[in-house]
């Protein structure tokens, strides 16, 4: 499924060419776990030792940009379908799917229709969304909320429980002062939402724009995320997922693990490695290797979440 393992001479689950490929495009090429609040990581392809069967698995897809048709990927509907097909083919079907925003490129009705139509082919019908700025900047999110935000608060934030995990979908793409912003109303809601939870509850936060300072110079950060993270600090296991930057990145800070997913549409340059962010053209044969989705496994009792990135490359 991943193209990262071609020659595995040392039987460690990864080869040099694959490692370089992985590091060049994914930035990390690392699978990480948190056990009892202690994070650890290993390279793609290495098999975890002594892991239990996951109680719950979910998949994150992001940045489908339906409607985009430039050279970086003239067939974003096609690559989204590849992602869905790959998820459908997973050995263990996910309990749910998260989409972390930029469903569409221009928030047109036809684009939302195409995305919804594509996702009808997903075996897992339980799909949760948060919007990206491409989905809501044209009409303050009206079209998005009508289709994907029923029952949510404000601009589309909400929470729900699945098995032992508390999921929180946040919207940091509605007000943009050079970068993402949550705003006071949402922060108040978040604080109240967390009050009812035991501190041992595993929490998964998902939003479009990074809730950590990936690269503020390009707006890849959220101006008031520190306040949100203060509310999350007492909890033993917090996983924060985002899209927006179209590449895998990760950071662990205390009990909070941040993870950024690949896009299903097109890659973006690594921070500061180009004059500006935006769709990055790669050779056609490499495109699928820089697109993908993220699988997350939760193991109860250990409060352990394992995050695995899978490229669409053959």
């Amino acid at each position: 499924m991943s193209k990262f393992i071609i020659h595995d001479h040392s039987n460690d689950g990864i080869d040099r060419r694959g490692f370089l490929n992985c590091m060049a495009w994914a930035g990390t090429g690392v699978l990480w776990t948190i056990s009892g609040g202690v994070p650890s990581s290993r390279l793609f392809g290495q098999k975890p030792s002594g892991t239990s069967k996951a109680d719950m698995t979910f998949v994150q897809i992001s940045d489908s940009h339906i409607g985009f048709n430039k050279p970086a990927n003239p067939d974003v509907t096609g690559t989204l379908q590849v992602a869905i097909d790959r998820i459908n083919a997973l050995d263990a079907q996910p309990d749910l799917i998260l989409h972390t925003g930029d469903l569409t490129h221009s928030a047109k009705s036809a684009e939302f229709d195409t995305l919804a139509q594509s996702l009808l082919s997903s075996k897992q019908k339980q799909i949760f969304y948060v919007p990206g700025e491409h989905d809501i900047s044209v009409d303050d999110g009206k079209a998005y909320l009508e289709r994907f935000g029923k029952g949510t608060q404000g601009k589309g934030w909400y929470s729900f429980d699945q098995k032992s995990v508390h999921f929180i979908g946040l919207v940091n793409s509605a007000v943009l002062e050079g970068m993402g912003k949550l705003g006071d109303d949402q922060l108040t809601w978040l604080r109240n939402d967390l009050k009812k939870l035991s501190k041992s509850t595993p929490i998964v936060v998902f939003a479009h724009i990074p809730l950590w300072a990936v690269y503020p110079e390009w707006g890849w950060a959220t101006s008031d995320s520190v306040q949100a993270l203060t509310y999350l600090k007492p909890f033993g296991s917090v996983t924060v997922l985002n899209g927006h930057i179209h590449q895998v990145m990760q950071k662990v800070e205390g009990n909070v693990a941040f993870h950024s997913a690949m896009s299903t549409a097109f890659p973006q340059p690594a921070p500061g490695k180009a004059p500006s962010p935006g769709p990055m053209k790669v050779p056609t044969e490499q495109l699928k290797s820089v697109l993908g989705f993220t699988s997350v496994h939760s193991i109860s009792g250990k409060h352990s979440l394992a995050v695995v990135d899978t490229s669409l490359g053959a």
Binding site: F68, K70, H105, S106, A107, E133, H134, S137, V138, D139, D140, S173, A174, V175, L176, E177, G178, E217, W218, G219, P275, S276, P277, G278
Partner: protein, 120 residues
């Protein structure tokens, strides 16, 4: 009575004019919501930096990788061209790279007033 009606009508006209005048403060709010995801004033992001765009030739911000369509469009950005651009970028310059649009005319006028205010 006639004088009174004229006075009322005058007040109405003044009110309508006041409510429809472009408002740079509201334009800043609209800019942040509608444009801020891709544009900064002094920093290149997914879109070019926009401070002092008024009077600038299209496709001329230093360091931004414009589409050929915008580079070759040779427009001068003013109230009229910006209004057409924001209303329907594809119609004004086919095959450009901008993803969004601003359908609301008041929003457009306010954003343009805000951008103009940054030229001083």
């Amino acid at each position: 009575m006639k004088t009174f009606i004229v006075a009322i009508a005058s007040v109405f006209v003044v009110c309508v004019m006041a409510s429809s005048a472009p408002d740079a403060v509201r334009g800043k709010e609209a800019f942040e919501k509608r444009c801020g995801g891709c544009h900064g004033l002094d920093r290149t992001k997914e879109g070019p930096m926009l401070r002092k765009i008024f009077g600038r030739r299209s496709g001329s911000a230093a360091g931004f990788p414009y589409s050929d369509a915008v580079k070759n469009s040779r427009l001068i950005w003013d109230e009229q061209t910006l209004d057409k651009w924001l209303e329907d970028p594809e119609k004004l310059i086919p095959n450009n790279d901008m993803a969004t649009r601003v359908p609301d005319a008041t929003d457009r006028a306010n954003i343009i007033a805000y951008l103009k205010s940054l030229n001083v």
